[in-house]
Symmetry: C2
Subunit: 205 residues, 2 copies
C-alpha cells in the first residue's frame, strides 16, 4: 500500500474534502477530524500533509480558488468565439453569479474565506481573497474595447467602470447567496445594469 505518493495530489484531495465540509458548516469551526472523516482517512494523515491548521485553511483557499478559476475558464471557453466585448463582459459577470448548486456552494465557501481574511492576518497576507484579482485585467481590457467601439462614453475611466461592474456582480452574488434574491433576479438586475452602462447600439456621445 504505502508506495510513493504524489503529495500535491493528496493535498488537493484533502483540500477538496475541506471545501466540501465548508459548504454547510462555518469555516472556522472545521477541524482536522472533520476533514479526515470527510476524506475517509484518519486524523494524522491530514496533519501529515497540512502540519498546522493555518496551512490547512490556506490549502483549502488555494484549492477553492483554483476550482473557481477553472470553472470560469471552462465556461468562457465553451462559448463560441464571441468577439463582441459587451457580450463577453456579460458572460463573465453572469458566470460570477451563483447559477447552480455547485457555484452556490463555491460562492458560500469563498465568502466564508473572505470574511475570515478580514480579521485573520495570516489569510489576509497570502493570496488575494476577496478581490476580483484574476478577472479584473481582462475585464478592464474588454471595457476599454467597448469604449473604443463607442458603447461607452469616452470620458469614463475603464478601470473604475470595470471594478464597479465587478462589484455589482459581487454584491448581487451576496444577495443571491443569502437568499435575499433568487439567482434569476440577480441575473436580471445585472443584465439591466449592463444595458444601462454599456448600451449596445449607440454612437459615441
Amino acid at each position: 500500500m504505502p508506495k510513493r505518493v504524489d503529495h500535491d495530489q493528496r493535498r488537493r484531495e484533502l483540500a477538496e474534502a475541506l471545501v466540501r465540509c465548508a459548504r454547510t458548516r462555518p469555516l472556522h469551526a472545521i477541524g482536522y477530524r472533520e476533514v479526515a472523516a470527510e476524506a475517509g482517512v484518519s486524523l494524522n494523515l491530514v496533519q501529515y500533509y497540512f502540519p498546522t491548521k493555518e496551512k490547512l485553511l490556506h490549502g483549502g483557499l488555494v484549492h477553492l480558488r483554483a476550482v473557481m478559476a477553472r470553472r470560469l475558464r471552462d465556461r468562457l471557453a465553451e462559448t463560441t468565439g464571441d468577439d463582441d466585448p459587451v457580450q463577453r463582459i456579460r458572460l463573465i459577470l453572469r458566470e460570477l453569479l451563483p447559477h447552480d448548486p455547485v457555484s452556490a456552494d463555491l460562492y458560500r465557501v469563498h465568502a466564508a474565506y473572505a470574511a475570515l481574511a478580514l480579521t485573520d492576518p495570516a489569510l489576509a497576507a497570502e493570496p488575494h481573497t476577496a478581490g476580483p484579482d484574476q478577472i479584473y485585467p481582462e475585464l478592464t481590457d474588454l471595457v476599454t474595447a467597448a469604449q473604443k467601439a463607442g458603447r461607452l462614453s469616452a470620458h469614463v475611466d475603464p478601470h473604475l467602470a470595470a471594478v464597479a461592474l465587478l462589484g455589482a456582480a459581487t454584491g448581487l452574488s451576496a444577495y443571491a447567496a443569502s437568499g435575499y434574491l433568487t439567482s434569476e433576479q440577480a441575473a436580471q438586475a445585472l443584465d439591466q445594469q449592463l444595458d444601462l452602462v454599456l448600451e449596445p447600439h449607440r454612437g459615441s456621445r
Copy 2:
C-alpha cells in the same frame, strides 16, 4: 451596587463589547470570556444576560444593525434637505461604503455575520443579515422618482435598478474592506457608475 438595572441597557453594553471584539478577531472564535474581559465584567454576567451563545451572537447582530442603521439615518439627516433624487441616491450609496475607521470596523463585523449566516441556520433564520433590507424600499422609491424626472430610461425596472446599485455598493465595500481598493477608489467607482446609470441632465429617451 446591585440595585435594579435596566436589562436592555446592560445587554446593549455587552453587545457593544462583543462587536468591539469582533472588529479584530474572527466572530466565531469570540466567546463569553473575551466579551466579559472587553466589557470589564466577569464571565457569569455575560451569561446572565445572554444565557446561551446563540443568543449572544444574536444580540451582537441586533446591536450592530441598530448602530449601522442609526449612523446611516444620522448621516442622511444632517445633509440639508436635498430634494434631488439622484443626489440623494448618491448620498445613500456613498454612506454604505466604508469611509472612516468606524464604518470600516462596522462593515467588517457585518461581513463576518453575513458569512456566518450562510452556514449557520440559527442566524440565517432570524433577522435579515446580508440583505439590503431597510434601505431598499427607499432606494427603489428614489429610483422611481429619478425615472419620472427623466433621468432614467422608462423601460427599466426600478426595483432591479435599485438592487443593482445596492449590489454595486456592497461589492465595492467588500473590495475596500479587503484592501483591494482604497475607499477613495471605491467611492470614485461608485460615483462614476451612478453617473452612467442616472445621467443628471438628460431628457427621457
